[in-house]
Structures are given as structure tokens and as C-alpha cells.
Symmetry: D2
Subunit: 459 residues, 4 copies
């Protein structure tokens, strides 16, 4: 604990293109008022700087570095960041690790851009799904996340931030095989299954002499503090909220691999299945693989059964489960990507952004995990599968918030556990699944005690 | 004339980073309605494609290629431009010259960006000088025009688009000496004195093995058709109007050289002098050189006398006149740049943008050259020098419009000549200067007959 | 075993600059006669292609792929290599891993160059130490191994190819800390302690955004088959024999870390100590660290005691032993490199090649490990320390040959064990050391039974 | 004259890869003995430094800078060159122009390499045509002159160093059109027609955003002082003698354009025709264009007639004459290069080196222009065309030496004019041709008086 609290003061020079700010922008970042950006800026910066901290509790992190401060200094060659009481783990002999430095400036870039988009349009006014899709596009483009010439090769890896040693090694092995085949990696940019595939792919790239491999980390302000971007991430992008982050994953990624995880991973799987169930997306052939080592076989059988029971056989057809075979995972994904390439080419759809994927309003609209919203979720098996998937997705999203997000933790502390109501048969299955996450220590990082933030209430 | 009209149809792949457009942006560029961008887009694109056309009459160009069309095509690797009946001079064996291609995509970038800024803020609402300066900054930054690490080395070259062979050669010689000393060039990106320094500097860079030399062309929609960017320009930037273009010149450039020219060059000189006369700018030490070959000695003596007579001795101290000595010009400029570097370093002012230069509202506000506005210009010697400079600048600006801009030409055709009123003594000097421009064929490209668009009326 | 024998046929395009061969050179590589290069070429190529094979027995490898063949094909864009029955482990879905491909062409480069040097000078005629040092220089330069501008940062890592899991992880941790501090790695390019530091440093470089990190592998024809270069090696260099390889290590490297290892590592340590004991090298301050995890503490104490007992206290002062502290190792090395930088700067010695280091003839001359030469080694404690170090180095070199090299293995099979004679007290210490290597499974890869190739005979 | 003699002392850092010399190599370059390299090194270095000197007389240059000296200094980052009393024209404000600097280090590279080749093989022992071709290949490869992936696009431009203003402008125009079509340029690297095409192509490349265009200058020690490499040359290669330089031109170049010139150009034309007349080269389809402005029409008619008269119609079919049409020249060349590409692809001949071209011994063997050798040249129309071409080539070569080379000038001064004997009819034509060169001031740079170095004697 004490080691963690060692801090460093430093002046940091920028990297890349967003090293030039107008005087107006500097004021916005320094503005500590309600409408100013300082609070958000400080929080995201601290998250990036805590790259090696083993915490998944945003409030704990904030408390630990309560006297952390960050300022912008105008200088003849451009700008500098002044860091005060920054976590020492981001430094080597007093020098900020360059990967951390780069990600720090991505924070500056995205926070200012989100703010200017907000000023221009007002995020809350975005009702038209097309407008939201355009916004996600513009944020990604502004973050320079498109490589127009490139054939599809960006593989999204989902999975828990809290996984066992064997599972972690497995994610590295899969990453290695993907990297050997030239694929790039996109994850939620935290620890565990978000870090392993990148490390593995990095070594795979090394052997293939790929020096410009992409390690994209997609995050959002609510999650960044709990899942600090690891410095291998060389493209950090902060989306405005969880739903836009999910949309970015599925429109920018060309295929998806889900490793074992807890409610967050479950939310992601439900999101993708819910979307792919839409008739407009029938011909998408979206490569989607669930995989883990032999020891995770039971886990995936349980997930598969849960999906079969709740969303039906159609839903089960949307993914492939592969147990303990990293090479096979990589080969299947490579095959899937070829199919994606062919499809986009034929339909003149952009390689870098899946415009054609239809995302229903129920998956796009931000879900605020208040006690009221959680209690009102309609969880009945008679709902259409896509709708049920949307609601289950929301339930999981709420539980993630209650577990690790700053706001969510505060909410639970104030109002007690979330109450999830629903059809008894369905709720029993949900309960069993969540119970398993608890037992397998997938709710929080191992070592910490887990106190559930929800209660299952059968009608 | 017939040769000029040869046209080519082609599909053009994009270059660089703005090769990714959202579906909304594509619609805007195709929108031929009043509020749509198509007309502006087509006009600027045509100007860029007419890189070798020897015309300086926007209307003539438009008439010549009246059936030119341009469309955007969505494609799996990104976007393409479809050109229909494009001027053949931009092509080599059916392939668009890459420099032209690059500039074409700069047009797309800037037109869309200006439009989105307009939507967000409303250009006309920009009353606060600080807001205008921020806008100029944002446009330049969006065009990727800043090199934060770089020490000051961007030399702005002003001068006529219509100059004689000897003067042209001289601008090349000066450019060569600047290039040999590692300086980059920024001009208004048309022919004549806007092209010569770039060609010279390019060869100078070659000998110094500088492969990433910058050849910045700053233009605006009103001028682009009459002064087609030459393809050596490797950074084309379209500013929204003449005043923001002038502000971009003086804030982005680190030193300025004015070659001989007509009313446009005169406008630029008056603009800079007017600004530098402001007490806040006293310590700027802005490098400013007027230069030409021996044959232009008389010309510069006349300009110098005109400035002395109208704006006084203080104004004359702001520039150095060097006749027929390209090496000396380059050495003086290099010395000046060192001074600029020292000053910015000391005052922590950015190398890439002169934030500290004070530009008075009278130089920032767009001047619309209507007959009424021209007639009401206050031209009296009892005005403070800076104010008189501002008004003389406007007078010259109006004459440029009446000579070569599409709107201006139409205005004159409809309402007759501009009428310039003022103090007899002053007006006589103005008349003499303009008369000299006519005689020296500096009003229009040689060969064409020049019919004055103004009348001098002494009170 | 069967998996290992899967083979692939492929045509391989070259990379880099040595993709252009004259017709004469092609003939030489195809020449299967005594004086031709085919046998050597095929053997080294096979070693590079066996990158993932877990063998350390050259003869076993050759036997396993007895029908492997390699040819050069002339082609309009340059050359191709045709591989027949190549080990499948070097391929991903039929495509040769690019790192392997690059190393394959390094083999072509070095084999041809060594041959042409041999033709020009005759290696055996090189008697003058200065000539040998020049030859090593020329081989390294031809392999493009010098970065003249670069400050000293190349750390040589020595250590066993056969080490335990914990020791391996430790080498990775040290590599990671070196990489985080921007250091490059040079090893003998096989598995174990030659691979771990590279993998670690590669991840360290990733976090520091170092894309051009150097992973230099120095090998020689006798060792390459037993210690296949791993594909992270991005600069493979084949030196003509073991002594020139050792000279290359110490002249090109700027500091040296020795991990635990067997007789090969011991040879390397004795080589460096023997050289540094020379009075001319007194002021070299050569950074030299022995390090391992806690579990290796006993090992290093034994080595240290052996050196103290045989070569004296002076020898012990030449290195630092650090147990279980990768950060401290990296910090000490960084400090040492700064000292090296200072020294070279002061003495105008090249950063990239340590010309000033004096290497005595006894360390430069190739030692042929015949039974006769081994038997005649003078191993007595009354010898000067440097001379005794030279002879002990030769003894270890012979044992390595008898353990894993093709010629050595054949020799032992034919003539029985090497016989090492010497002073009883000294021989007892040697015996104890070697016995420890056997017990710790450092002689051969674990799993294989080890039959000693030597006998200790006390006089 | 005095301006020319201004000198500068400077320390110069190296560029590129040959910035690393062994101590042996440094000694060789400093060795002023008969067998040492100092004299040659100094002479070539001075030639490169005289880039802007308008002299074509090697002896005059040497005399002008008789106190010029050059030394190599060992330094911790590599090497430096110390220049004493170097021509000031190579400097800008005391800094050596980088292009000159680069070429200076090419001199170091080639002089050392030629010397080491000589040591290894002995140039004079090279009797086998295949060995000479291999040597030319090795020199070019060592100079890094091959781009294996590249499709054929290297156009050799021949022509006089002494040409008129209009002819010079024409060579620039042709170069511009070649550059616009992406072609690279190779010349003899002096002034006049060797410089114009490079300057033109450089601007063409600029418009096509080609930043790595090649401007190859092939020279040899005898010619370099008289034809100083201009700094646009970015690959300077020094061949050992005139015949190997010619072989390099025709094997490395993919097509050839000859502008107007004097005896040197004539030598080159005769060389190429002589080779192409060989039956083995029938299917080479070597693109070969003679071209000039309208004012050179008579000149080319005269050359064409001379070839027709002496070598016959077959010879005339080998080239195309194009008058005053740069675009047509470039288009024809582009067509020719496509044909070359097709041919090499089909025959698996390397793109970068024309191995298949047969060069007869009579064109390969060095011709020493002594009075005796010149007098004994067999010049009769009954000889086979190829043989006559070989002898005429030698005659022209001798005259070039007598005009501008150091040795040749000394020879003429000592022994009087060369005497050329031959068949009266033939000699009359030769005389007429040479006489025309004299009248057109093609023998020496204009301004200088030309005193013929030869006498025509009809038998």
C-alpha cells in the first residue's frame, strides 16, 4: 500500500499531433467549475498514470492520490503538462514512460473534442440513431483510428479484468497466434483479458517484424479509473459513455473474441448477440468466438446454456466456442476476416467502419443504472429475443457500475442494493450465473472481498 | 484556347488523413442547394485542377469548364473522387498529378471544416478579436499546419501574380538562397511571385537534402480561382476570407518578403505595416524585407515614397529594402529569424503561432467591397497612421476584387467603376501608384487588356 | 517427435539489402564440392528454420531433416530462396515467419562475405592481433551492426541455453527493466538466457514506444545448429569461429550481464575476466554483472568462490553480483553505460566498437578442441591469472563442443572422453564446478540424459 | 577568378552508412606514398567540393586550390573530415551543403572499396569479360545502387557539358517530363546536359510528390575533376575507369537519351551502338533516343548521317531522333521502359542490372589514350560495323582525354597533338564532325579558346 502511494512531480512534453492547444482550450482544461473540464481531465489522467496499480475501485484510486494535480504550461515549443504527486509506477527513474505519456495526451485530445462536440450538438439531443452512429464515427476519426487502405484485421478481445493465472496465460497464447497472423488487437484496455492478448500479439508481431501493430484501447470516463489503460495500448480512445464504447467496438472491430469474464463481459456478449439477432444484420457473418483453456470449459458451457435458455437456439448460432486451442482460434478468426473483407468489398462498405450494421435504439440509448431504472427492467422470457437481450445487457451494465464505477459505488452506498425483478424461471438462471461469477472471483480483483450490489427478486 | 479546353474524366483515390468522410459529410458536399457545399466545392476543385492554366479571371475559368463536375464515391477502401470534364493540364497520360490530387483533398478537408465551424459558431457572430484569432488557429491546426518542435523558419513571400520574366527569375533566386539556408516558403499559392520562390527553394532544399520542405499555400474561396495553386504547394489551406488569410500569413509566418506586385501586394504590405504600427507590437521585431532585381529599383522607391508620404517615417522603419542581392536577402532573413526565435523562447510564445501579435479590429473585420463601402472609405492624411493604413488596405482589397474575383467582376459589370473619395493630396498619390501598376501591367496577367475598375475622386 | 518432422516446401522472397547476388555468388552457394559453400549454407539455414525446435544437439537436428534442401532462384525482381522439406515450425499457415526470413538472408550475407574475406586474406594467415580485430570490425560493419550516432546502450546477456523456469522468468524480468531504460540486447541468440532478456526487453521497449530496438544475435557455424536463433533476434550475425564471436561480444557490447549457465557461460565469463586482467585494460571500467533469482544464489556463490580460488581477488573485483533484483541490475547497468559513454567521449574512442580494449593473442587464437589439445592444456595455479583464465576458457570451450557441437560430438564418439590434466587442487575445483553443472542440468536441455564428455585427471 | 579562390576550413560530420572506417582504412586514405590513396582521395574530394566552379580543366582546378588538404579525424561518434582551404562555393555561411557532404562520403566509400577490390583481385588481371561484368556489379552493389523491387525507371541522359542556353533549357524540359512520369535520372554528373535533366526531373518529382527520386551520377577518377558532380546528384558513384563507367551506364540504366554534345557524347553513342550491333543483343529493344530543340536539328542530322555513312543503316535503326518535343521524348521512353519491364520479367532477368546484355571485349578493355595507341587505331570502312564503332569510340575517348583530363592534357603538352590515321573517305567524315564540334563550342566550356588536341591524317 505504501509503495503504491509513492509519487513523482514532473514536467512532461507532448507527443504526436495534439500538442498544440489554443488558449481557449487551455482555460477549459483548467476550469474547475461545474461546466469546466478539470475534474474529468484530472480523473482520466490519474487513471492513465496508474497503469501498474492493482486496483479496480475508482474511489479507492482517487482517495489514494487525493493530492494529485495536473496543469498545462504554455511553452515556446508548444505545451507541457505539469504533474504533481503523480503515481510513481508510471515513471522509470523519474522519466514518464513514453507509452503512458502518449496515452496522457490522448486523454487531452478526447476530452477537448468530446466537449466541443457537446457544445456544438448537445449529446443528449442525439436521438436519431444515424446521428449517434455519425458521432461515434467522428470521435474515432478525430482520434485518427481509421486506416483506410488496410484490409480488415482488427480483432476485438473481450473478457474479464479479473481472471486467473491460467486464463491469463491463455489470453496471451491466443494473442500470440493472432499476432503471428498479422492481426491487430482492440480491447477495453484494462488488466486481465484486456492486457493478455496485447502482450501475446506484441511478441507475435515482433517475430513477423510488424512494427506498427495497433493496440487499441477503448474506454469511457466511468470505467477508465477502474480499468487503467496498460501502456502497451498505443491508441487510447475515450468514448463518451458505455453505449458509444460498445458501438465503437462492433463498428470498428472486424471480429470479436470473448474470453471468460464477469458481468462486464456478459454485458458485451449480450450486446453483440442482441444486435446480430436483428434481421437487417443477417448477412453480416460477424466473426465471434468464445474461448478459454480447458479449465474454463465449464464456464463456457454455462454461458452457452444461459444464452440457449434465455435467447434461444438462433442466438447460439451466432458464436463458436473453442476450448483450449489458440491456433484454431486464430485460424478461425483469420477465415472470418477474409469473409468480412470479401463482403465489404462486394458491398462497397468501408473497411474501417461497419456502416451497414444496424444497431437498434434500445442498444444505443444510454442506460443510467439508477435503482429505479434497474428495478423497472422488464425481464420476461416472452419478450422478443433481441429485446430481452437488450434488457439483460442493461442489468449487467448496472451490476458493473455497482461493482467498480465511482458513481455506481456511491449509489449503492447510499441506497442499498439494486433490485432486479422478473419472471421466476428467468431470474433463477440469472441468479445462478451471477452466483457463479461471485464464486469464481470474477466480480472484483481476487483478494478483495466481494459484497454483491444486487438482489434478485422473483415476481 | 482550344488546347486549354481539353478535358479528362477520372476516378481519383485520396491521399493523407482526410480520406475518410462520414455519410453526412458526403451529402453536404453533394448538396447543390443554397446552404449546400457543392457550388463552393466544385469551384475550388476546378481552381486546383487548373494548375497550369494561364488565366487570372475567375469567371473566364468557370466559363471555360462549365461542364466540369465532381462527385464523391463511397468505396470499401475509403472514398474516391469522380472527376468529369476536368482540365487535362492536371493530368499526365490520364493520371492526375499527385500534387494536384493532394491539394484537391485539402479542398475537401477545409470546405467541410469551415462549414462545421460555421454551423457551430456562426462566422458572422465572431466579434471578439480573440475569437477570430482562435478560429484562425483552429483552421490552421485542423489543416495540420503547425510543427511544434520546429524553430521558426517559415518565410512568407508576397508579390504579384503578374510579373515580368526578370522579376520572376529574381524571385526564384531569392527562393533558392532561402532554401539553401533551410527556410520553408509560404505564399498565396498562385503564379508569379507566389510560385518563383517555391521553385527556387525546392532546388535549394534538394542540395541540402531537405525532403520534407514546406511549401504552404494560403488562399481563400474568392481568390483561388484567379490564382490557382501551383502543384509544388504541398500544404494548401483555404481560409474563409481575405482578412483571415492575412491573419494566417502574419501569425504563422516568421518573416515576410515582399516582391514587386500590384494592388494585392500593396494591400498585404499596408496590412502588415498597419499592424506593426500598433504600440503593442513595438517589440515584435518582425523581419520584413522588400526586394527585387535592379530593374525594380524604381518600383520600390515609389512604394517607399508612397508609404513615407502617407504613413510617415515610423512606417518606413518597419521594413528593409534590398535591391538585386538574393544572398543578402536570405542572410538578413536568417538573422531576423534568429531574433524571432530568441524572442519567442524568452517570452514562452509558441514557435508556430504568433499569439502575442496584436491585430486591431479594423484589420480583422471582413471588408466587403461593395460600391457603397468603397465610396465611404475615409482617406485623409489627418487620420492616425494605423487607421489610414487600414483604409488604404481596404481600398486595395476592393480593387483586387474588381480586377479578378468572381463577385467583384460581376459587381463592376453591374454598377460601373468603384468610386474612391478622399483628400486631394492623398488621392493624387494613390492615383499615381495605381497608374504605375497599370503601366507596368501589374493589374492583370500581361497580354490581357486592363480596364480600370475604379475611379479616383478628389473631394 | 513426429510433429517436429512436419515439413513445408516454399519459395521465399528476400528482405533488406543483401537481396542482390552476382551470378558468381549464386554458384558458390550451390557448390557442393569441398571448397563450395553449399554444406555450410544448408546447415546454417536449417538452424535458422528450426527456430522453435527444442533440441540442442546439432547432429540430431541434421538427422531429423536429412532431406532438407535449399536453392537460390534468379528472378526479375531479384532472388528467391527455394526451401524443400523445411521445418514447419518456421511457418504460419505456409508462410515463412518474417523474422526467420530475415535471419535466413543474414545467413546468405555472412556466409558469402566470410568466404570472400577468406579468399582475399586467408583467415589462417591472420596472425597479427590487429588484423583479427580489423576482421571482426569488417564483419560487423558488413552486417550493418554499427550505429555511429548512438550513445552506448547495447547490453550483452550471457547465460545458459538450458535453465529452469524460474531462472528463465528472471532473465525476462531483467530484460524488461533494461528495455524500459532504452537498452538494446545482444546475446548468443539461442533459447534460455539468450531468449528471455530479449522477450522482456521487447515488452519494455513497447511501453517506451521504441520501435527500432536492437536484438542482436551473435553466433558461429559450430554453435548455430545447437542454439537456433529465436525470431525476435532482428540482427543475426554469423562470426567465423568462437573466438571471433567472443571478441565481437566484448568490442561491440557496452556492458555485460551473465545469468546462470553451464560450461558455455563459464567460458564467456573466464574470457572476459582474462582480458580485463590485462594491465592495458585497467581503466576500461567495463560494466559486468552476474545476476539471478534467489534460487540461484548458491550457484553464483560457487562461481565467485571458484574465481576467487583460481584467479584471485583482483578477478573478483571485475564484476558485481546482484541477487534477485532486476531493477537494481538495470540501474547499475545504466550507470555503467554512462561511465562508458563518458570514457569514450573523453578518449575519442568510437561508441560502436571498443578499439582500445586489448585482447591478448591467447584469447584471440582459435582453440581446436581435439583430444590432444585438451589433454595438453596447462592448468596450474602458479600460472599468471590471465594465462590460467585463458586455459580454463579453452577447457570449457572444449566441453561445450563435446556436449553439443557436431564436430565435438563426433570426436567424442570416436575417441572417447576428453582427458583434462592438471594440478590436483585446481582440478578438484574444476571437477566440483562441472559436477554442479551436471546436477543442475546445465549441460544439456533438461529431459535428456547427460553423459559427460570429459574426465578430470589429477596429476 | 578571385571569388572562385575563396576558401573555407571546416570539420564535416559524415552522413549515411559509410561513416565507419577501420583504423587500417584511415591509414590508407592518409598514405601519401605511391601506393597510398591520398592523392586520389584529395583530387576527387576537391572535384566534389568544386560543385559550382565553372571550369572543365582538371589541371586548372588543381592549380587553383593547390593548398587544399583533407584529413580524417577519429571521433567518439564516428569520423569527421577535416577540410583545409576548401572552395567556398560548397558552403553556405560556413556550413558545407549537405548534398556535397553526402557526395564527399561517397568518394570515401568508393575509393576504399576500389582499393580493396584491387588488392583482392588485381584489376589488370581481369581478362574474362564475365569477371569485369561481375566487378561492375559489385561496385554498384557496394554503392547501394540497386533497388531490387523497383520496376525499370532509370533513364540515362548523355550530352555535352558545354551546351548553349537553349539546349540547356531543353534538357530541363525533357527532365521535367521524365520526372512527371516518375522516371529517375542517371548522368555523368557534370554540368550542362548532365545537370539540366536532373533539375527538370526534380521539379517533376516535386509535383508528383516523389521524395526519393534517384539522381545517379556515374563518374571516374579521370573525369571527375573536369566534370564536378552537381549537388542534386544524390547517388555519386566512382567507377575505376571510363570503360567500366560506360558498362555501368548501359547495364544499370533502362533507357538512354542523348542530347547534343561533343566528343564525349559521341563516344557514348558509338559505345552503345557498337554493343547493340552484336547479334546476341538483337532482342534487347534498348530504348535509345537522340533529342534536342529545333536549333539542334542540324546537329542531329549530321550525327545521323555520320552514323549512316560509317556504320550503316542497321546502326541507324537502333535509335529514334525526336526534335523539339519533350513530352514525346518522355512518352516514347515510358513506352520503351514498359517493353524492357516485360522482357526482363519474361526472361527472369534482374530489373536492376542487365546481365543479358553482351559486351564484347573490344568495348570492355580499357583504352589508354597514348600517342602510340591513338596513332595505331584502325579506322577503315571495310571493318565490321561493331569493330569500327569500337575504334571510333576509342578515338573520341582519346580526344576527350586530350581536351580535359589531367593526364591527357599533360600528354599533349609533352608530345604534341594526337595523330589519327585512316581511310581518307572515313577520315574526312570524322574531321567534319570534329570540326563542327569546334565551331559549335562543344569541345570546351564556351569562353575558353579551344586548341585542337588532334590531327587528322588521311593515308
Amino acid at each position: 500500500m505504501t509503495a503504491r502511494c509513492q509519487t513523482v512531480n514532473a514536467l512532461v512534453n507532448p507527443t504526436g499531433s495534439m500538442n498544440v492547444l489554443s488558449s481557449r482550450e487551455v482555460s477549459q482544461l483548467h476550469d474547475t467549475s461545474q461546466t469546466g473540464l478539470y475534474t474529468l481531465f484530472r480523473q482520466c489522467a490519474l487513471a492513465v498514470l496508474s497503469c501498474d496499480t492493482e486496483l479496480d475501485d475508482a474511489r479507492e484510486l482517487m482517495a489514494l492520490y487525493s493530492n494529485f494535480d495536473i496543469r498545462i504550461i504554455q511553452e515556446h515549443r508548444g505545451l507541457q503538462l505539469e504533474l504533481v504527486n503523480a503515481p510513481s509506477c508510471a515513471f522509470v527513474n523519474g522519466e514518464l514512460i513514453r507509452g503512458v505519456r502518449q496515452n496522457l495526451f490522448s486523454v487531452v485530445r478526447d476530452i477537448l473534442h468530446l466537449h466541443s462536440e457537446l457544445e456544438a450538438h448537445g449529446l443528449s439531443n442525439l436521438d436519431d440513431p444515424h446521428d449517434i452512429t455519425n458521432l461515434v464515427f467522428e470521435i474515432l476519426r478525430h482520434a485518427n483510428a481509421f486506416r483506410p487502405g488496410h484490409p480488415p484485421n482488427l480483432v476485438v478481445c473481450w473478457g474479464g479484468h479479473s481472471i486467473g493465472r491460467e486464463e491469463y496465460k491463455y489470453t496471451k497464447d491466443v494473442g500470440y497466434q493472432l499476432g503471428l497472423r498479422g492481426m491487430d488487437i482492440c480491447t477495453g484496455c484494462g488488466p486481465g483479458a484486456m492486457k493478455g492478448p496485447m502482450k501475446g500479439a506484441y511478441i507475435g508481431h515482433a517475430k513477423q517484424r510488424i512494427h506498427k501493430g495497433r493496440f487499441v484501447g477503448l474506454t469511457e470516463p466511468g470505467i477508465i479509473a477502474a480499468e487503467s489503460p496498460n501502456p502497451i495500448v498505443n491508441e487510447l480512445i475515450i468514448m463518451p459513455d458505455i453505449e458509444k464504447r460498445l458501438e465503437a467496438f462492433v463498428r470498428m472491430g472486424h471480429g470479436i473474441i470473448a474470453f471468460a469474464g464477469g458481468p462486464g463481459t456478459c454485458e458485451e456478449i449480450l450486446y453483440l448477440i442482441g444486435i446480430l439477432l436483428h434481421p437487417d444484420n443477417e448477412c453480416q457473418n460477424y466473426p465471434f468466438i468464445l474461448t478459454g483453456p480447458e479449465s474454463s470449459r465449464a464456464y463456457f458451457e454455462q454461458i452457452d446454456a444461459f444464452i440457449g435458455d434465455t435467447l434461444g437456439e438462433e442466438a447460439q448460432k451466432l458464436y463458436t466456442i473453442i476450448i483450449d486451442d489458440p491456433e484454431e482460434v486464430a485460424n478461425q478468426m483469420q477465415k472470418g476476416l477474409k469473409e468480412v473483407t470479401r463482403y465489404r468489398r462486394e458491398h462497397n462498405d468501408a473497411f474501417y467502419y461497419n456502416w451497414k450494421l444496424n444497431i437498434d435504439r434500445s442498444f444505443q440509448h444510454p442506460f443510467e443504472p439508477t435503482h429505479e431504472n434497474m428495478a423497472q427492467l422488464n425481464l420476461h422470457s416472452h419478450l422478443p429475443a433481441a429485446e430481452l437481450a437488450a434488457n439483460l445487457r442493461r442489468a449487467m451494465s448496472g451490476i458493473v457500475a455497482g461493482n467498480i464505477k465511482e458513481d455506481g459505488l456511491a449509489n449503492i452506498q447510499k441506497h442499498g442494493k439494486f433490485k432486479l425483478h422478473g419472471e421466476p424461471k428467468l431470474m433463477k438462471r440469472v441468479d445462478a450465473l451471477l452466483q457463479a461469477f461471485v464464486e469464481q472471483q470474477r466480480m472484483k480483483l481476487p483478494g478483495s472481498h466481494y459484497e454483491p450490489c444486487y438482489e434478485i427478486i422473483t415476481e
